[in-house]
Amino acid sequence: MTKNLLSSAVFAGLIAGLIAALLQFVFVIPLLLEGELYETGARLHFATDGTPQSERGAPGLGGEWGRHLMTIGFNLVTYAGYGLLMVAAMGLARDHRGTPITAQNGIIWGLAGFIAVQLAPAVGLPPELPGTPAAELAPRQIWWMGTILATLVGLALIAFGRGMMMHFLGLIVILAPQLIGAPHLDTFWGVAPPELSAEFVTHSLGFAAVGWVTLGYFCALFMAQGEDS
């Protein structure tokens, strides 16, 4: 059991992390590098001949292979970490609620993980383009972590709670951190074009969803295969 649990999570994490990293290099990192041009002042928004126009165009990925290898490496670590949490949750749900572990169910697990870990915190704290000044780190990390935990508890109440009241309670728990609100600055300080920030947010969320669904699918597939053999 232990071996199957750990190896399923790690292999699923490697596959999901690799796919997520490739998608990031195509869709997310170019926007991030373009944002850095504004962060460093290499480009200035609202400064080209006095009109609010900036040339669109990401710099190439460039020759910083060390940096990009690190991005791939940390994606693998992150997805393996999420995979370990996910297989434990799948196992607990099976032992205590009889939820079968199948690849199809894995897709739902992946979507739930995406909602709890990426989407819910992003509702309050949008993914940040480099150069976006934000409130102090510690309160943001606390709100971020609290929102993830509350959303996980809320989703679990909806998925496994018995009775309408439990499902309703789940909804309240999910909404609570959003009602409390994320820490924000009193002023807007962004130096990059708002369109660039918006695209960065939608791309990073969209492709994180792909990574999470892939993770859930392979975690469940490998768990089920390991138990059959």
Binding site: M1, T2, L5, L6, A9, A21, Q24, V28, I29, L32, R67, H68, M70, T71, G73, F74, N75, V77, T78, A80, G81, Y82, G83, L84, L85, V87, A88, G91, L92, D95, Q118, P121, A122, L125, P126, P127, E128, L129, P130, A134, L137, R140, Q141, W144, S204, L205, A208
Partner: protein, 56 residues
């Protein structure tokens, strides 16, 4: 061993496996997402932005 104690032993070893997976998972995520050591932060920088960790 009766079936009941066998089930109990299996459930307990499953629980230990779940705790192990959760612990290792949280440790990996702490390193990749939260740790502020400069070397780690710089190496993980792009991935943290792409995964929306509150990073700096």
């Amino acid at each position: 061993m009766t079936t009941q104690t066998a089930n109990f032993a299996a459930t307990r070893s499953n629980t230990l496996a779940f705790i192990l997976a959760l612990t290792v998972g949280v440790a990996l995520l702490t390193v990749s997402g939260m740790a502020q050591a400069t070397v780690l932060h710089d190496a993980a920088h792009d991935q943290r932005h792409a995964m929306a960790f509150p990073c700096h």
